[in-house]
Symmetry: C2
Subunit: 270 residues, 2 copies
Amino acid sequence: MILINGAVSNSLAATDRGLAYGDGVFRTLALRSGRPRAWSEHFRKLEHDCGALAIPCPAQAQLREELALLAEHEPDCAVKIVITRGSGQRGYAPPSPVAPTRIVMSFPLPQYPAELRQSGIKARLCSLRLGYQPALAGVKHLNRLENVLARAEWDDPETAEGLLLDAEGNAIGGTMTNLFIVENGALATPDLSRCGVAGVTRERIFARAAEHGIVCRIEHIAVDRVLRADEAFLVNSLIGVWQIRELGGKAWTPGPLAASVRRWLDEESD
Amino acid sequence: MILINGAVSNSLAATDRGLAYGDGVFRTLALRSGRPRAWSEHFRKLEHDCGALAIPCPAQAQLREELALLAEHEPDCAVKIVITRGSGQRGYAPPSPVAPTRIVMSFPLPQYPAELRQSGIKARLCSLRLGYQPALAGVKHLNRLENVLARAEWDDPETAEGLLLDAEGNAIGGTMTNLFIVENGALATPDLSRCGVAGVTRERIFARAAEHGIVCRIEHIAVDRVLRADEAFLVNSLIGVWQIRELGGKAWTPGPLAASVRRWLDEESD
């Protein structure tokens, strides 16, 4: 089911700036038993990301209504919310006033094998290096060709995710996930001020780690440091936590802190 | 008029990867008296850019037919051709097989004041610095948020274009144009191997310069060098040549080589 500006529709104006320039932002979240998971965090991030591009963010109540409509049809699904700067004349100058396009669409929840969650995943190091663009870093915008190119590097179904490095060889995150590592009982996750996407699950983990008295550092993390870590795991709103079992010649067994983080996220009420 | 995969339509599947990820490429060209200007160069570049993203490029004959349809309605217009990787399931992995989406749309030719062409333009130095991504540099893909952010930096109608620098302070091009400078009778244009879009008019100028025995260097050009140049001008398929009259506190009067380049492009038969 797809709602475009509140109306059921499968199609979008061909002149939309979301298509022309990737001029918009998006969120992906899970609806479970009709309820959007971590909704307040997702909405806050949507507001933030719209703000970063100076696109007016839809009202929360309006999005909640549209999610409720989706939930009537599919109480358990993945939802993607896309907000673009709307249609415009040809040319980069933003239209004035802006009439944003609001797309709320459901997809089947991805059916990953249960063992990915239980035993961890095989990941690969992607060849593509992420470029630096501080003006867009952290924002979940629609310019995602780097992710597309990185994801196209492999089609081995045994490899569940690829780890992306920046131009200096720092680990930034997976093609669709954020990265955490564990070192002596503390968490660390990449600094995303120059590239990467700062996801909601990453932020939820910051909050839960603080409550549980676990240090969580945000810093540049060279890939070698990932490979030496006690545990390494990837997170997003649909998969939750995937511990890395195999990456760049290194192997790990399931570790205690990844399991704790998974429990924190599962227990959390929305 | 808009043709989507050959059919008259104003709308596009909301699941198109062009919207989801900016997963596609585009061209903008002029139709004059029903004929697409510099068509063979545009098609060659479209093929190249599709190849860079591993998107199958439509057949030239098919695009020519669709341009002819547009030309019946509007013999003088701007045309935008967009090729995306088509619709897909949620997720970055490319669909297999790929069924590209082909959009051919007409717009009114932009009506710039004649004096921009005659007396030159006022340009500004944009604050946004282009990031480096060698895997995408030169390609006219749909990830254009940098251009959007740069173009949003000003709304003074007297300023016709903004010059973008890279992270090291090299001039790369305008938000919608390529840059050339003139130094002692020779041309130079920025190296676009790390960022920027390599336009068709830029390539046409390489060919014409060679024919006329004018040296044209492709190299890193620090912004100071632009400001010291004898002439500086911006080019694209719709505007042709705009000499810069004013930029960063420096003023120029119309120069002879910019005028020659304009004449070369005007004279050239397609």
